[in-house]
Symmetry: C2
Subunit: 171 residues, 2 copies
């Protein structure tokens, strides 16, 4: 599937079939994260793959009781083992690097016929307890992965002329 | 081009042809950013498209004299008009949302036969002066865009078993 098509078709999927995700599809999604770039190629991002039903239930509770998080047959917890490196532009590297990897995964998932949803609404402390994540690791995002049972309409977006400027700020 | 192929072929391009980027290609790259998701669909990311040669020269200087930044016929400055919203997981939303949009653009660029390079090494204050960006806006990344004149080998990446864990942290 073309990149353009995958970008157009991607949705935040909040309803999943119980159908398992095939191993080869899961591995290609993970591989897409593995290949993603990071600042200085430090590759500080780590991924925990959760398929156990009880653990998914607990993660759903830690994510403000979003039931679909438990419903998806796979949940990926995207973490960083590094939390202090700041690029010279002033931005922490790890949230950006982890987001790049997860974004790669969301688009590869579309190509595989799978759905995902970026989850930033969760209690990090609870998620770390559930997954036995060390104190000095950050959890950046939870990503349910599975076959969509309902595909929502695309969300409205600002027009290009509302978000793009030419040569200088609002020139 | 398949998403998987685009992910495999993407490189950090640090040498560009002077050849112009066609308008339709540039617009599809920008459209891919426009369609990208953001926390709560707040769409706080903004993009300044710089084609003026002198401005690109100044940006290259502000990016630690990385000459290829000026060499690329287009530079995209990815900004955020919001800098304080924190998701309940504890992460600032804007660096992640802006990274998602830029990552979409990097993969769409590959599909168009174009190259990009994530630039986090720049002096934000100088870039804001050059582009007349207001104080309360953050510049998250500079992204040169153009036809590669040299395509480097892929960088080494950790193995999947070094970055992926199953069910719990290092279980």
């Amino acid at each position: 599937m073309d990149v353009q098509k995958a970008i157009q078709l991607r949705r935040s999927i909040r309803a999943y079939d119980p159908r398992e995700v095939e191993e080869d599809k899961l591995m290609r999604v993970l591989e897409s994260g593995r290949l993603s770039p990071s600042a200085g190629n430090r590759q500080e991002r780590r991924f925990i793959i959760i398929r156990d039903a009880n653990t998914r239930k607990l993660l759903g509770e830690a994510a403000g009781n979003q039931r679909f998080v438990a419903e998806a047959p796979v949940v990926i917890a995207a973490c960083s083992v590094e939390k202090e490196y700041v690029m010279s532009c002033g931005q922490l590297a790890y949230p950006i690097d982890t987001a790049i990897a997860v974004d790669h995964m969301t688009l590869q998932a579309v190509e595989e016929g799978l759905g995902t949803c970026w989850i930033g609404a969760f209690n990090e402390k609870k998620v770390k307890e559930i997954l036995q994540i060390p104190d000095d690791v950050r959890v950046v995002s939870l990503l349910p992965l599975g076959y969509p049972s309902t595909v929502p309409q695309s969300k409205p977006r600002k027009r290009l002329d509302e978000i793009v400027m030419w040569e200088t700020w609002r020139s």
